[in-house]
């Protein structure tokens, strides 16, 4: 199998990631790029869900990858790779957040520290009615649930439980069962005639 830089992940993502990881460990730059492209959105959302500004989040994601390069030999499998990166990103995000809370606002300012666009800001980007309904109900969830579902939405089914655990969520938060957060979102969607009508 040859790994092209812009090849999207095939259906068996975990096996593919494992193969890329093996090659990256041997110094294959294209394989490393494939892994970076595949996992960056996940790590981005991990950092952003922890309340970092976009600039700090980009920095934290880079730091996590640099730490990975340092620890390449310690990580055995692709599944371990994903949760390892999530754990490091979350830890780094926490470190940066506590640091920025100690300091006066810098050029990034208070506004730059806001984690998420509010429902109003997002509205213009959500052109489908179904997206708007989902987003509205999602925003009503407790913050921990929003964090969990935001992250889990970025990964494949077999990785739900492990990634949730790496996010510091209790066992059984999601995968293999639905878990409290998704059950709550699902119920509020099904109760909404606007969702059911579509």
């Amino acid at each position: 199998m040859s790994i092209e830089a812009d090849t999207p992940a095939p259906p068996n993502r975990s096996a593919w990631l494992g193969e890329c990881f093996e090659r990256a460990r041997e110094g294959d730059r294209a394989a490393l790029r494939a892994i970076v492209q595949e996992l960056n959105p996940l790590l981005w959302h991990v950092a952003r869900s922890q309340g970092l500004s976009r600039e700090d989040a980009a920095d934290v994601v880079q730091t996590a990858w640099l730490e990975l390069i340092r620890s390449l030999r310690e990580i055995r499998t692709a599944a371990a790779l994903t949760s390892w990166l999530v754990t490091i990103t979350r830890r780094e995000a926490w470190r940066v957040r506590t640091r920025s809370q100690r300091q006066l606002p810098d050029s990034d300012g208070i506004l730059g520290g806001l984690a998420d666009p509010g429902p109003e800001a997002a509205h213009g980007l959500l052109t489908s009615e179904r997206d708007r309904v989902l987003w509205r109900h999602f925003q009503q969830l407790p913050e921990r649930c929003q964090q969990l579902l935001r992250i889990v939405a970025q990964v494949d089914r077999p990785d739900y439980a492990e990634v949730a655990q790496a996010m510091g969520m209790p066992h059984g938060s999601i995968g293999p069962t639905r878990g409290r957060c998704l059950a709550k979102l699902r119920q509020s969607l099904l109760d909404d005639p606007e969702w059911s009508r579509q």
Binding site: R29, R178, A183
Partner: protein, 164 residues
Amino acid sequence: MSAADPLDDLDHAVLSRLSSIYGRVDPPPPDLNDRVMFAVALDDLLVESLDVEVARLGYDQLVGSGARAAERIRTITFDAASRTVMMTIADRPDNLVRIDGWLAPGEAVRVELRLPEPSAARSAYADDTGRFVFEGVPHGLAQVLVHPPSGTDRPVLVTPSLVL
């Protein structure tokens, strides 16, 4: 239809729609992949398995009026367990930048500034007090490596990439 039930198609459809929404309301910066690849593309480190210490961005602050590009000075620090790297980055009238750096604790070691290909990496030597200078550096991505004194087995200190 409780929390203890297995995930079904509707659950997956909801998660997949959520992922797509987040891709629009808060997408990663378009250059994030390139920045990561630049920061980790340390071929010699990968191949020779050199020991690396990763420095973290301490703070990054723009000083001065900013009214004219030539007056803008940015102060940036990177922290690691072994030492701190402080840099002031000043815009020059010729659209290049000058970097004045200090290592704390100070030590006469080689400091390397990696730039994206095809630009070659540059080297500067810090003096005993840890001061070093890079003149005429182009804007764009860069990464700083602080090499240990030759003959020691201390790790190379690397920073995340920064945008000059």
